[in-house]
């Protein structure tokens, strides 16, 4: 039971962490509240499903195709829709919701509302104590960890990573220092869609692929980002881990827990915000303080 909870929680929180970090990045750098973020996760999962089931590509080839195409779609969406109305924060949010809806409708037109699964790529499982865990889960957990660490190292140690963090702190001053903040926004959009796409490709063989798979993660991701504090990437990671584990524990221990999982996770977020309005690791920007 305990090992069950630990491993399942690790898989759930890993996916949420990948999504939450991307969401927090694009919000803190470009000030875009991208509600379509998990729609990109869904696009990647669907493209992966299509390439692997219809075109019979290999695992590596289809994941590369899915990720590259999703990143392209993301950047095109950014250029076409978000960049033009970036000044109106609410309009950006509404456009991203509408975009996610359009993506959802296109997929349900083509594939219907049925739940589809992708066959596991790495077959087999190992036993820890009395718990079975498939190699697919282990592979997903390890690759999520590798990608998160790589992103962290890249952001904190390279020249471009420094530039991105500078834009996140203060776009105008960064611009004065010679950083092209518009280019940085496009770059961060690429990175954030890339992270979402990786999450989609890794989750497709474990979970289900269906046109409504974006709604539940976006709520948890929003909650995680808020819980950790907007503008803090490490915070959003911690928030995602907390919420992922809470959801898993509730689902395992309470009767009717699968209904209550998101509710309890969200209640914890609300309670934390009541006590600490800026989130666990958040800092208030001067103009946003009450």
């Amino acid at each position: 039971m305990v090992i069950d909870i630990i491993l399942n929680g690790l898989a759930a929180s890993g996916t949420y962490a990948l999504l939450a970090v991307g969401f927090a990045l694009i919000f803190s750098v470009a000030r875009i509240l991208n509600m379509a973020h998990t729609a990109f996760y869904m696009i990647a999962a669907f493209l992966f499903y299509i390439t692997i089931s219809f075109f019979k590509f290999g695992y590596i080839a289809s994941s590369v195709v899915a990720i590259v195409l999703t990143v392209l779609v993301g950047v095109i969406c950014y250029k076409l829709f978000f960049e033009r109305v970036k000044e109106h924060e609410q309009t950006v949010m509404i456009i991203s919701v509408a975009l996610a809806m359009v993506v959802q409708e296109i997929f349900s037109l083509q594939f219907g509302g049925t739940y589809r699964g992708v066959d596991p790529i790495i077959v087999g499982f190992c036993e820890i104590g009395e718990t079975r865990i498939s190699y697919q889960h282990i592979f997903a957990i390890i690759s999520i960890a590798v990608i998160l660490i790589a992103t962290w190292v890249w952001l904190s140690n390279t020249r471009i990573g420094n530039a991105i963090r500078a834009v996140a702190q203060d776009a105008e001053i960064a611009n004065v220092m010679g950083i092209n903040d518009r280019h940085m926004c496009v770059l961060v959009m690429t990175l954030s869609v890339f992270l979402a796409a990786v999450a989609g490709v890794l989750m497709a063989p474990i979970g289900m692929v269906h046109p409504h798979m974006w709604t539940q993660p976006i709520v948890v991701v929003l909650a995680a980002v808020i819980l950790g504090g907007l503008g803090s990437i490490g915070g959003s990671l911690v928030g995602a881990v907390i919420l992922g584990y809470v959801e898993t524990i509730v689902a395992f221990l309470l009767p009717g827990g699968s209904f209550l999982g998101p509710s309890v996770a969200l209640m914890i977020m609300v309670l934390v915000l009541m006590i600490r309005p800026e989130g666990l690791f958040g800092v208030f920007f001067e103009e946003e303080r009450l």
């Binding site: 829709f81 109106h88 609410q90 509404i94 456009i95 359009v102 709520v219 209904f259 309890v264 009450l290």
Partner: protein, 355 residues
């Protein structure tokens, strides 16, 4: 007698016929009141009634999120809770709609108090996301007690608003007119009798400045939440008695977003914008669903129309139209029709572009 009529006619000419936006509003209300004369088709009347109910809901969202600036993404909570309360009272105690709808609205205005608690500490995006979670928490609770709340199917077999289609329609339209009047007056900055409009707008623009000018912003924020919750509850009660169903679909995230989409499409922070948005977008999606092909693409069409409109009119369609048909006199701030070269009161030259 005749002189009174002349004064009355003069007033109407000054206040309505000289301002194109008000002519449109007048035509709109006349059409709304005479709609059953124009068509007796059940489908169209149902669509129109639902549109009117959702217009009340959208206006209540606009009052709190547009005018007062407390962005709420969980407005479906008020709607859903009122629908459930009205349905439970009607089914278990057998009370009539005229009693259950106000009681449901009162319960949902209590929930407005709950919403106001985070609003006292949080603002902007943080508040939006906390409010987003409330209906989701509520729907989790509802699904856990299926015996009492009907679970995923919801409650059905609720008493109809009235036996006749036309009387139901007129009840809804009457409630719409009254609540539109109240909410418009509450948000009207130029009103000479009520100060709320200017205070709520001040809270949106700069809460600290409002507080330094001696306004008890906490009291007004709570008041705005309670009033907004009340009208959303009225809409929810009417809805559950009209379609005779109260289900968890009203607590879904999409339902709360829908009202935001309608209002921002129509123009935020202008009460009438909410009405414009609902009366364009809701019939569009519903009329599409009458056709076999259209039913599949209706949400696609909804999203595409929304994206394209907002790309070219970022402030929404209501303000865009108002700017096209009305000019504000630079000297005396009176509104004039777009066809005028000089102001109708002070003869100042009107420049074609607004600042």
């Amino acid at each position: 007698m005749i002189s009174y009529m002349q004064i009355g006619y003069g007033w109407i000419r000054q206040e309505i016929f000289a301002q194109p936006a008000r002519i449109i509003a007048l035509i709109f209300f006349v059409l709304l009141l005479t709609a059953p004369l124009l068509t007796q088709d059940k489908q169209y009347l149902t669509i129109l009634t639902m549109t009117t109910i959702f217009a009340i809901f959208a206006m209540s969202w606009d009052l709190i999120s547009g005018v007062t600036g407390q962005l709420s993404l969980g407005h479906g909570l008020f709607f859903g809770v009122a629908a459930y309360v009205a349905a439970l009272l009607n089914l278990n105690l057998g009370w009539q709609p005229w009693l259950t709808i106000p009681l449901g609205a009162i319960v949902s205005s209590m929930f407005g108090l709950v919403f106001a608690i985070p609003a006292l500490r949080l603002r902007g995006i943080y508040l939006a996301l906390v409010t987003l979670t409330f209906p989701l928490i509520m729907s989790g609770i509802i699904l856990v007690f299926p015996d009492f709340t009907g679970g995923e199917l919801g409650l059905y077999g609720i008493q109809q608003l009235s036996q006749s289609q036309n009387i139901s329609y007129y009840i809804v339209v009457l409630v719409f007119c009254v609540s539109a009047f109240i909410m418009y007056k509450l948000s009207d900055t130029e009103s000479k009798f009520i100060r709320t409009g200017i205070i709520l707008n001040a809270i949106r623009e700069d809460e600290i400045a409002a507080r330094t000018s001696g306004i008890n912003t906490i009291r007004y924020k709570i008041m705005a939440f309670v009033i907004s919750g009340f009208f959303a509850g009225v809409a929810g009660g009417l809805y559950c008695h009209y379609i005779r169903l109260a289900g968890p679909s009203n607590l879904e995230m999409f339902f709360s977003f829908q009202v935001v989409l309608w209002t921002i499409f129509g123009s935020i922070a202008t009460i009438y914008g909410a009405v414009v948005g609902v009366f364009i977008l809701y019939p569009l999606t519903e009329l599409l669903s009458l056709f076999e092909f259209g039913d599949k693409i209706r949400f696609l069409a909804f999203g595409v129309v929304l994206i394209i409109t907002l790309l070219f009119m970022p402030e929404g369609i209501g303000i865009w139209i108002r700017d096209k048909i009305e000019l504000e006199c630079p000297r005396c701030k009176l509104t004039n029709g777009f066809y005028r070269k000089k102001c109708r009161a002070c003869r100042a030259v009107l420049s074609p572009e607004r600042n």
